[in-house]
Symmetry: C2
Subunit: 258 residues, 2 copies
């Protein structure tokens, strides 16, 4: 029998919440949650039936894996405050290089789930691609086997490739979501419920399962329907921001699909 | 028993193909397909077991409904060439006003399906919202009952509201698809298959079924993760176009979610 993995979560945001919940479900023991915000640490630790702390010096030192899921800007300062040598420490960032660990830690790596996490949404982790990088081969295997508890899709990736994945994910997820948000704003002004767009949003996401987005493009920009584009820009004239995005993205579609 | 509706399709693109196929399935008789491109007219008419013509003067004059599904730029010139008074004529455009029919036609309207149509994708029409406008009440009822053959979601909409719907749809569908296309380009350069993004794309589309896109936003821009944003811009420095979109949309997310 494999001993139960003891995990410390450093961070209490969306990624920490979703990973912690999923790892617990897979039989891991979340022994502690650290967050500099005591309330957030307590809230997540209640969910995970773990201990919690807001004092980084009080981190449990005997866990098998320390998962650092904090925003990238905060990562170096959090790592600087860890005053012992953990068995294994990983971060979950798409963009920060594995080199962030190099000066100070012995066994380390990256454990990057390519998915959008909110605290409340239900994620099917089996489908989430994990991209793994490690300080050395033995550590790679440990991280990989942890990822395989959650997902069927675990891949090696160096820091450069992972950054490309993250940039691509920002376009495919965050920017896409912002397009939804702008659409929502436009409809709100006309008292039209956002729900009317849901079949369209779903179909747009479905279509790219079977053909490339370039082949699947529709609408006035790819048709070069100049009068429609002019009418839409006029419609958006009071929303300078949206008009700029409309113009730039339409031009980009036109250049791209020529 | 209701007499079988006789329909003439003017246009042979994605919308004409999908609407024609769906209306035929619902028991309508597609009597003719017109396209100025003889090959396109013939291809669609074979699918629909209808006649076809590339000569607009040869339009069958006895159909119940003429559905004009051509690009908006071409709509006025196509209408100008129709040299008889049809029983009922509609267009399918989101943006062109119903007024395009006014000078020449007696019974007319708009029949706008809010969906993205490719020739090959399978659409569940029951879910597609149709927005209807008509020259007068009796015509409205005819158009509505035709739309109800296809869909459970049929709404009245004047031309101004319809334009807003179309602009919103461009953001939620065409621009979203372009974000997928850019993501695909970024991954292609790194030899990473687009498929790794599919669970993320699906989840992004799913999340907005239960909460507003504003609430569901994730990623570096909404977190104000400055170092990640700087790293991504640097990564994109050779793709001026993508970098511009990255900068503008990130700023817009930041302004929007503040």
């Amino acid at each position: 029998m494999i001993a139960q993995l003891k995990i410390v979560l450093i961070g209490s945001g969306n990624v920490a919440t979703q990973l912690g919940t999923a790892l617990k479900k897979c039989g891991c023991n979340i022994v502690q949650v650290y967050s500099q915000n005591q309330k957030h640490a307590a809230a997540l630790s209640r969910k995970l039936k773990s201990n919690c702390t807001a004092v980084i010096e009080n981190l449990v030192q005997t866990a098998d894996i320390y998962i650092v899921a904090v925003k990238d800007d905060a990562l170096p300062s959090v790592l600087a405050q860890i005053n012992f040598q953990p068995k294994l420490i990983v971060h979950t960032s798409g963009t920060t290089s594995i080199a962030v660990f190099k000066a100070k830690f012995k066994n380390y790596g990256v454990f990057y789930p390519l998915q959008t996490f909110s605290k409340s949404n239900k994620i099917n982790f089996k489908e989430v691609p994990f991209f793994i990088e490690a300080s050395h081969q033995k550590v790679y295997q440990q991280i990989e086997s942890t990822a395989r508890l959650l997902s069927e899709k675990v891949f090696p990736s160096n820091s450069e490739k992972r950054k490309a994945l993250h940039v691509a994910a920002v376009f495919a997820c965050n920017f896409t979501n912002h397009m939804y948000a702008i659409a929502n704003e436009i409809l709100r002004k006309e008292n039209i419920p956002f729900e009317v767009l849901l079949p369209l949003i779903q179909e747009t996401a479905n279509k790219v399962k079977t053909a490339s987005p370039k082949l699947m493009q529709t609408g006035p920009a790819v048709r070069n329907d100049k009068e429609v584009i002019a009418a839409h820009k006029k419609y958006l004239q009071d929303s300078i921001d949206y008009k700029k995005i409309y113009t730039l993205v339409s031009q980009s579609i036109s250049d791209f699909t020529k």
